[in-house]
């Protein structure tokens, strides 16, 4: 008989009554379920309590990632699974996760699990939204989140201890991101307004944001996979970079020039280590494009 590995589930919630039941329904097998609630004003806590979860309370924060680390210590089992309240797992996930730990747990401390993202009722096939690996299953004490929104967590024992699952036929996280484009835009604005910005004026260049906007559009625009929705998403995310540039500019006292808005300061052939395809030179840029552009541009200047 195979040994069952106990898994602690941690979910952060905020007014999650619409999505939490599905997540909890699909994770009854977890040895322990911890719901960290940020002052929900709906029935989130009631739902979590009724499902037998251990409910903890925290203050409302703009970004959940920085406080994740604090609650990882609450897990009492060796393996931790972290899900967001608008995510859920498939009906065969328990068996798949057990198999993963059984077969690879000796050589891996963390697993990057592919994620299906759904926008406006459509499961995104490309546009940078798939496979969208997420480090969410890991051994206690081996993973830490970084400050800011949607930063990839760090595997403290080294990248060689991270195992990335290759889709399609493997366990996935299912993410009901946004019911429509309007909510997608609203969320991006909120993230942009609440994110951290470098306080060093020397590090600001509106041109970098502009370059990132172009790169983001190129990376996300994949109509062969997602049709017009791809164009919509790419436009929103490109515009997100511009908005962030303006927010950053204002926070620094509006002392820098925005003249870069009139021109694209650099052109990018392809990201390092990525082969460019004719006609779509930016298609293969990695998700870390922002950091890469920043490094390239600031590096040239210095």
């Amino acid at each position: 008989m195979t040994r069952e590995h106990a898994i602690s589930l941690i979910v952060h919630t905020r007014d999650s009554e619409a999505t939490l039941p599905r997540l909890l329904d699909g994770t009854r097998w977890a040895a322990e379920r911890i719901v960290v609630d940020m002052q929900s004003r709906d029935k989130t806590v009631e739902i979590a309590n009724a499902a037998g979860c251990r409910v903890m309370f925290t203050a409302v924060v703009d970004a959940v990632d920085p406080i994740r680390n604090q609650y990882l210590a609450e897990a009492s089992h060796e393996w931790i699974l972290v899900l967001d309240s608008d995510e859920y797992l498939a009906a065969d996930a328990h068996e798949a996760l057990q198999q993963l730990i059984r077969e690879h747990g000796a050589n891996a401390d963390a697993f990057a699990i592919p994620r299906f993202n759904s926008i406006a009722g459509h499961v995104m096939r490309g546009s940078g939204f798939y496979p969208d690996h997420q480090v969410r299953l890991f051994r206690r004490g081996t993973v830490a989140w970084q400050p800011g929104h949607h930063r990839l967590p760090k595997v403290l024992t080294g990248r060689q201890r991270l195992r990335q699952l290759e889709p399609p036929h493997c366990v996935h996280i299912h993410h009901e991101n946004y019911p429509d484009i309007a909510s997608f835009i609203a969320k991006q604005v909120r993230y942009a307004l609440t994110d951290d910005y470098d306080p060093d004026p020397e590090k600001f260049d509106f041109g970098i944001y502009l370059a990132e906007a172009h790169a983001e559009f190129a990376r996300r625009h994949e109509p062969s996979q997602d049709g017009e929705l791809s164009t919509a998403v790419a436009t929103v995310l490109a515009w997100d970079r511009i908005m962030r540039g303006l927010i950053h500019w204002e926070r620094l006292g509006r002392r820098q020039s925005l003249n870069a808005a009139f021109s694209l300061p650099i052109s990018i052939a392809a990201a390092p280590g990525k082969r460019s395809r004719p006609g779509t030179p930016l298609r293969n840029v990695p998700r870390e494009i922002g950091r890469w552009i920043r490094r390239e541009m600031l590096g040239r200047r210095n």
Binding site: A91, D92, F116, S118, G121, V123, H169, H174
Partner: protein
């Protein structure tokens, strides 16, 4: 719940959508008080979305990996327990009258399992009951390939019916522990029926209406049944009644 329809499906969303449209018509014609539809998304590359299926109240249960038909059907039945289950392949388009007839047969003949008469697109028989041969052939579809027009429409009582379109009583299904999940692909339905017969359950096949079966549309691997067939014959050879030569 009076009846839960369980459809295990992999890919082919347009096929599934058409299957569901026909199922809804058949459910409406059957005039049951409460019915439910469970779609088992059996590892489809891009998960099914409710909107693309065109059936607002179908419940989709997602598997990320592909599982045997038996596993998917058993999971689907557990999802919404009901007095009866209809197991249906995504490549079966039920005739609007077919389900009503199956339920009538179940009631009138006190059958615990009822199959449907299925035809191929050229209007030849795909399934109207399973017969068992004593030789290497084992179980096979009766009158397969014969024009439907020349095959009797009298309700039959074979030893087994296909799981491609099968109604089964909840108590029978529960007593049997559902489909045996040891079968990787195929023969789990014949196994279920033979086990049911050992419990004294009557098996029938409704013959009044032809439903279309685009047989093996989703999976055309020539050897897809081999492992299950071996298992089935190891378990049942010599233990089922020989139906003899249907042409004899």
């Amino acid at each position: 719940m009076e009846l839960t329809a369980v459809i295990s499906s992999y890919g082919q969303p347009a096929l599934l959508r058409t299957c569901l449209i026909m199922l809804e018509r058949a459910l409406a014609r059957a005039e049951l008080r409460s019915t439910a539809i469970v779609v088992m998304d059996n590892g489809t590359l891009i998960p099914y979305r409710p909107a693309e299926l065109g059936v607002a109240d179908a419940r989709i249960v997602r598997f990320d990996n592909r599982h045997p038909f038996s596993v998917a059907c058993n999971r689907g039945a557990r999802e919404i327990p009901a007095a009866r289950y209809l197991f249906l392949n995504n490549d079966v388009f039920l005739h609007p009258e077919a389900l009503l007839e199956m339920l009538d047969v179940m009631r009138d003949h006190e059958a615990g399992i009822v199959g449907a008469r299925l035809v191929l697109p050229d209007d030849t028989i795909q399934h109207c009951g399973v017969r068992f041969d004593g030789g290497e052939r084992g179980p096979y579809h009766q009158d397969h390939g014969k024009p439907s027009a020349i095959v009797t429409r009298v309700t039959s009582f074979p030893q087994a019916v296909t799981g491609a379109a099968m109604v089964i009583d909840h108590a029978v299904f529960t007593a049997l522990g559902g489909f045996d999940e040891v079968f990787p692909f195929g023969y789990e339905d014949a196994d279920l029926c033979l086990r049911a017969r050992q419990l004294g359950v009557r098996i029938a096949c409704a013959q009044g209406w032809d439903s279309l079966h685009l047989e093996s549309f989703s999976d055309r691997r020539p050897d897809r049944h081999q492992a299950s067939r071996r298992l089935f014959l190891e378990r049942w050879r010599g233990r089922y009644a020989i139906d003899g030569d249907e042409n004899g």
